[in-house]
Structures are given as structure tokens and as C-alpha cells.
Amino acid sequence: MMNATTAEHMRQVVDDVYRSESRRVFATLIRLLGDFDLAEEALHEAFAAAVEQWTRDGMPSHPRAWLVSAGRFKAIDAMRRRIRLDASLAARATTLEPTTPPLGETDDVEIEDDRLRLIFTCCHPALPPDAQVAMTLRAVCGLTTEEIAHAFLTAPPTLAQRIVRAKRKIRDARIPYEVPSAKDLPDRLDAVLRVVYLVFNEGYSASSGRSLTRHDLSAEAIRLGRLLIALLPEPEVVGLLALMLLHDARRAARTSRTGELVLLDDQDRSLWNRNQIREGVLLLERAQSSGRVGPYTIQAAIAAVHAQAPNSAATNWAQIVGLYDLLWQANPSPVVELNRAVAVAMRDGPLAGLARLDAILARGDLTDYHLAHAARADLCRRLGRTAEARVSYEQALDLARQEPERRFLARRLSELQA
């Protein structure tokens, strides 16, 4: 007989299963039902049914397969009921039925593939970049619309609309629910990694708002990185996780107790997370041993040099400049050039760095990027060119949108005026 305690216990069990399995079950239901909204509804119905049935009959031997089957049958039932109201659903319901395998036959490999299919669909280049991020966090990570909106400082209705539009495009343009073919995989994987890194960066150094970091987003990106490695252990996937772990290892040292920004040179390195650095370095070695070294792996190598140096002065800046040269070949972007100029300044002195930095700005690149002006200000300050430093700090301050960064720049500026 069922009593209140067993019911309560089973609810706990189902909650645990929900946490560990709901994203997998959801990914598979999308494939089986061919629709995100139907799958979401079916997922919730399946878990509701689980609370009831598992309490009565005990937990099934393979809960994941049970939930997939339950979800699918609930969806077909719901469709049958709706057919009376909407004839267009009739066709879809019939196409679902013949493919229905008997309960429990859905195998685990296929289910893991579904998670990968879901990631590639959410990060499809035919979706706008902000929608790719929103869809990935919503569908793959299971964050609520409110959580995502909060993390990106967007109004929840705006974010909800972005997701609705993305789902509509996936359906109407028929964006496939497939892992891309070998020929398209490198490009498509780049898009996925870009989304993961974007989520990480927004968490690691928020583009605007009150705090420097948003740990929830970095943690989510790292979780995504781990999932991707389990599903698709390509060198750059490994390199990206290494990069994220190595950067995130410095998190505790990047802000003071009062929330002020602390630059790399001034960080208390005893606060760096050594376990995370160790894991990052191991992953980096694994990515490098593949012989196919891409931009994320190179950036991880740079982060590893910093992470293993006892202090700024003892950092092997020549090695860092060399790695930036390599990165520049793989990804010739002005931001890479900026970072290389800063590394050159550390190796050869501020004057050498400033010459390179001014060449970038003279081209008109990065003139809207606050960190380019902040870097220039810092080099001028070190050269004793106070007036120039002041102008650059002011330009940086005009462009910076994040409050700890703004306070840092204002502090440096006032130090120069004193």
C-alpha cells in the first residue's frame, strides 16, 4: 500500500532523476516528436506520470527508457485528442505511430547522440547568434527563460520571444535535428564552440552591469564543455574546456573583497584554484598531443603559461608572444593583435608595445573597444606620458559598460591627476 512516506520518498527519487536525466529525455523526445514544444510538454507529462506510477509499481529498471516511452505515448495521446479539433495534426500523428518501437528499446548510444543533435540544432548558423545562446541555455542546459534573461540583463519577455522565434524557424525552415556530416562538421563545431565560449565569457567578464563575473554562466559553460567532450572529443573541444578551466581558476583572485577589479599582475596567486589549473593543463596536453592545434588550444596554452608562473615578472613573456604569433596565424583578429602588443610590451618594454598598439588604432580597428584604450593608457602611464595616459583612460571610461571596470579606470585616472 502506498503511504505518505513512500510517496514523499518517490517524489525525491523522481526529482533526482529529473536533475540527471531530463535533458537527455528531452533531447530524445524532440527527435521522436519532431517538435520542441511537444517534446517539452511530453517531458513534463512523463515526469508527472512517473511520480504516480513509480510510487505504485516501484521504479522501473531503466528509468530513462521508461520516461522516453511515457513521454512519447503521452504526446501521441494528446495529439489524438487534439485531432478532433485540428485536422492538420492527424497527418503528424500517423507518421509517428509506425516508427514507435516497443517500450524500453531506445538505446543509450542513440540517446547520447540526441544530446549532440540538440546542441547542433540550437547552435545552427541559420539562427541569430543571440538566439543560439538562448536556445542552448534553455534546451541543452535546462535554464529557465527568467534565469537566462537575468544572466544577460535582458527583459524576460524579450528573451522568451527570441526563443519562440528560434523554435519557429527550426520548425518552418526545417533546421535538421542531426549531427552534421563529416564535411560540414568543422565549421558547425566552430559555431557550437563559439556559443559555449560566449556564454563563458559573459560569465567570466560581463559585458555590462554591476559585477565583474557571473559565476552561474561560466559554470554552465564549463558544464557544456564537459558534455561536449563526452559526446565529441575533438581536440578543439578539449582545448576550449582547458581554456575555460584555466581562466576560471583565477576567478577568486580577479576581484577584491569589495568587488573591485584586480589585474593579473596584482592578483594574489595563492587564491588561484590549483586543482582546476592541474585539470586544465592535463586537458591542454591532451589537445596538443592530437597534432591539430586550433585557436582555443593556443589560447589555453597562453592561459597555462600564466597559470603556472609564480608572478608576473617571472612569466615567460617570450613564450607568450610566440603563442600569440601562432594564434594570429590561426585567427588574425585585431583583438589577438592587441593582446600580442601587450605581451610584447611585457617582453621588450612599454615603448615596443605602444608602437604596435598605436598601429592597430591608427588603422581604425578597435577604436570602440574600451580595453584597447585602457591598454594604451597603461603603457603611456608606465612610460611617464601622463597627459596621453589620461586621454586614453578617459576614452576607455567613455566606452566601458561594466561597473567594476569603470571604477578601476576612474581610480587610475584620479591617481594620474593627483
Binding site: H124, A126, D172, A173, R174, I175, P176, E178, P180, D184
Partner: protein
């Protein structure tokens, strides 16, 4: 699923030789698509200098010279294809000759019931 591939490019930037080469390459592509059952229709269009726009407002007909909108790149032709999903349509679009110079806009087609078929 049917996809309309709309071919946009700067019609003034195309020489007569390039145009003829584009026709030849497109015809060949159409034959290849036909052979694998993906081809539905395709045509180049005369330039926008010979376009005519028509509107009817309050029962009154307005006919004007020129295209619907003046744009930097103009609609110069189309392919109507059958593809399993968007990725397959993108693969076909990437094979059109004008993709190297202009832009191919892919639009899924709404298949209305009740339209005449051949």
C-alpha cells in the same frame, strides 16, 4: 520540403561574358539536381531596368516603372528545389554560380493545398 533559392547580386557588376558563363553553369547544375530528384524549377530574370511594379489601392490600379525596392543587390533569378531539410538546401545554394559574387536567400515554401499541379 520545397525551398526557394532567391539569387541576389549586383546586376550592373556582371559582364555579358560572365552572364553567359553563369547561365551555362546554372543549366548544368539544374541537370545535376534533376538527376537526383531535387530540381523543381529555375530561371534567370531580366534586369530590374525592365521591371514593372503594380499595385491596386481602393480599386484603382497603379503601374510604375522599376522594381519594388531599390537595393544594392537585386533579385536576378531563382531555383526552386526539393530538399530534406535546411542543411541540404544550404548545400545546393552553395553550388549556385552567383553565390560566389552575390547572396542566395533561402526561403522555405508553404505548400498550399488546392494549387494546380502539372
Amino acid at each position: 520540403m520545397q525551398y526557394m533559392l532567391l539569387i541576389y547580386f549586383d546586376e550592373h557588376a556582371l559582364s555579358e561574358t560572365e552572364r553567359q558563363a553563369c547561365y551555362a553553369e546554372s543549366t548544368q547544375l539544374a541537370q545535376q539536381l534533376h538527376a537526383c530528384g531535387q530540381y523543381l524549377a529555375a530561371n534567370p530574370l531580366h534586369p530590374t531596368s525592365v521591371a514593372t511594379s503594380v499595385r491596386v489601392r481602393d480599386g484603382k490600379r497603379f503601374v510604375t516603372d522599376g522594381p519594388f525596392a531599390e537595393t544594392h543587390e537585386q533579385l536576378g533569378g531563382y531555383f526552386l528545389i526539393d530538399a530534406k531539410h535546411l542543411d541540404e538546401a544550404i548545400t545546393v545554394a552553395a553550388r549556385l554560380p552567383m553565390v560566389r559574387q552575390g547572396t542566395i536567400e533561402i526561403r522555405p515554401v508553404i505548400e498550399l493545398p488546392g494549387l494546380p499541379t502539372e
